[in-house]
């Protein structure tokens, strides 16, 4: 067995379900891998660990990868489990926010620094009225948002809306940024050039097994995976997991676009270029960036595991 480790971007949750599934049901082992999942968290530095070679794979995103290209860091994404970024913006149901554009009328938008330097830039360029002074840091406590009707906040489609409804008793309005036109891939499998050069088969096997894991998680018996999630993250509840899976399916987070035909994880040049162009258009990325270095389509879009979908 080849020992590899995968660093996620957050605490164990349903959004990582496929990977846990593959650990739990032996899919990785079947592919000759012994996989350790390294949980992320609010301040975890898993990407730095990937760069330093302390983990083998990391749950990255296209902007991060392009940043790496810019800095000459050989990071490459080899699969994108999510076709849509599950980032949402939330608003109070009675604040008069009907369309995504209406969020510009809010006094405050609570969001993390990552959001500020990525999609908020995109929002400012593509919609009228978003301003820097709307930004306030989001410390992963929705209370300030709940307390202030004239505010919006970032969230993860599968998490915050659920918690806020549970605690505050009302369902916030949810706006998926991806549906507003933000074409970012998400929850990718990112690794280093060195890994691809030296052990391409390990990379291929990890990608394949993970994709199978995802099909099994979404369509098969996912109890073992959920137990594993709950073990890594004792706070996780069955209700939350069920909600997450439902939302992922409802919004086509994992399966939409290219993934429907070519299988989960698919990355295509056209889609990537489109996203890159949109970033260039708003000045987040320089036009001369060799963005093709940021990803590889070699390992995906092969329809792996599609048979598992029932």
């Amino acid at each position: 067995l080849d020992e590899v480790s995968y660093g996620t971007n957050w605490l164990a949750q349903a959004e990582h379900g496929g990977f846990y599934q593959a650990v739990a049901d032996g899919t990785y082992e079947k592919h000759g891998l012994k996989v350790t999942i390294v949980q992320g968290g609010p301040n975890a530095a898993n990407r730095a660990l990937l760069i330093a070679g302390k983990v083998d794979f990391y749950m990255g995103g296209p902007l991060g990868d392009m940043d790496a290209v810019k800095q000459g860091i050989p990071l490459i994404s080899v699969a994108s489990i999510f076709q849509k970024d599950p980032q949402v913006l939330l608003a109070h149901p009675d604040a008069g926010v009907e369309k995504f554009e209406d969020l510009a009328k809010m006094d405050t938008i609570f969001m993390g620094k990552e959001g500020y330097v990525t999609y908020f830039e995109w929002m400012k360029k593509n919609f009228q009225g978003f301003r820097d002074d709307q930004y306030k840091p989001y410390t992963f406590n929705p209370a300030p948002f709940i307390a202030d009707k004239k505010s919006a906040q970032q969230g993860y489609l599968t998490s915050e809306p659920y918690e806020i409804e549970k605690q505050a008793g009302w369902a916030p309005k949810v706006f998926l940024i991806a549906d507003a036109g933000y074409g970012s891939y998400s929850t990718m499998i990112t690794t280093t050039q060195q890994m691809i050069d030296k052990k391409p088969d390990v990379v291929q096997r990890f990608v394949d097994a993970s994709i199978e894991g995802w099909y099994n998680y979404l369509y098969g018996d996912n109890k073992a995976a959920n137990d594993l999630i709950k073990k890594d993250n004792p706070e996780m509840t069955d209700g939350q997991i069920a909600y997450s899976i439902a939302k992922m399916k409802e919004y086509g987070i994992v399966e939409s676009g290219d993934a429907l035909e070519k299988g989960i994880g698919c990355i295509t040049d056209e889609r990537y270029k489109k996203f890159f162009d949109s970033m260039v258009a708003i000045g987040v990325e320089p036009a001369d960036l060799d963005f093709k270095k940021a990803y590889s389509t070699k390992f995906v879009c092969k329809g792996v595991g599609m048979a598992l979908k029932k």
């Binding site: 949980q39 968290g41 975890a44 530095a45 730095a48 709940i146 918690e163 806020i164 004792p234």
Partner: protein, 283 residues
């Protein structure tokens, strides 16, 4: 101006402050803080009731107590982890702070050259260098301790430097005269004479070690089962489980107060026989 005691004790008897007197003192010493805490809790409840603040913003004492009770199974191990890290951080900060302080006061040039470097270590934001530490530290535990040390050592160092430099020059003369070695002067003169400063450093360091443990866990800690209160805090926040957030906060505060009481007691032990700060004025 007291008059002779009623029992007709001979005026020559040694001063026994009296069983009642002493008990009253200890009683007051515990009752007063407890009273203040109760008052604060009532105030807290009153604020919540008067402003009808919803629980997910600021939970009431009852909800927090409830959560403290219900989530004890999660909170207790986390508290224990945090306590351990705090103690280790404090120990490291003490050794490091005192050690570096002793090094710094060896000569004016050493101080000029290296004191600023300790300042740099202090002001470097942990969160920015945590990844570096994580990369080069052999284990997460070590990384955690490095972070905690960086947060907590400076006040101890700084107080210790001031203490070591505040030694009475006449006593230094005396030690020189008797041919005391550097080591002896340090051990028998400089260290004892800087105790009042050290104790202040210790008191600050105790609280800061706790902060350090929390910050280090935020920055470099591992998640999941082996995690401390810091993680539980963030987690509860993320889950909007605000009562539990406050339960964790209260545990942290209590840990802080306990550490403070212990360090205060140590300070009292070291100073009450001779130093103004811990002596009752008798004339």
């Amino acid at each position: 101006m007291a008059t002779t005691s009623l029992e007709g004790n001979p005026p020559l008897a040694p001063p026994k402050p009296g069983f009642f007197g002493r008990n009253r003192d200890t009683l007051l010493r515990t009752l007063i803080p407890v009273g203040v805490v109760i008052a604060l809790i009532l105030l807290w409840q009153a604020i919540i009731t008067l402003n009808s603040i919803p629980q997910y913003i600021l939970p009431g004492p009852l909800a927090v107590a409830n959560s403290l009770y219900n989530d004890w199974g999660t909170l207790w191990p986390a508290l224990w982890v945090t306590t351990q890290i705090t103690m280790q951080a404090l120990a490291l900060a003490l050794i490091g702070g005192v050690g570096i302080a002793i090094f710094l006061v060896q000569s004016k040039w050493i101080e000029t050259a290296f004191y600023p470097i300790t300042v740099i270590l202090q002001v470097t934001p942990i969160v920015a260098i945590a990844p570096l530490i994580l990369i080069y530290a052999p284990t997460t535990q070590v990384a955690l301790l490095i972070c905690a040390f960086l947060v907590a050592f400076f006040p101890i160092l700084s107080n210790m430097v001031q203490g070591l430099k505040s030694v009475d020059h006449n006593l230094l003369n005396l030690f020189d005269l008797y041919g005391a070695s550097r080591w002896q002067t340090l051990l028998y003169l400089k260290l004892p004479s800087s105790l009042p400063y050290f104790m202040t450093g210790l008191r600050i360091g105790g609280g800061l070690a706790l902060i350090a443990a929390v910050v280090a866990e935020f920055a470099a800690g591992s998640a999941g089962a082996g995690s401390g209160l810091a993680f539980r805090l963030l987690e509860s926040q993320y889950r909007l489980n605000i009562p539990r957030l406050f339960a964790a906060l209260i545990l942290l505060s209590m840990l802080g107060v306990v550490i403070f009481m212990i360090t205060s007691f140590i300070a009292w032990l070291g100073l009450h026989r001779w130093h103004e700060s811990s002596l009752k004025r008798e004339n």
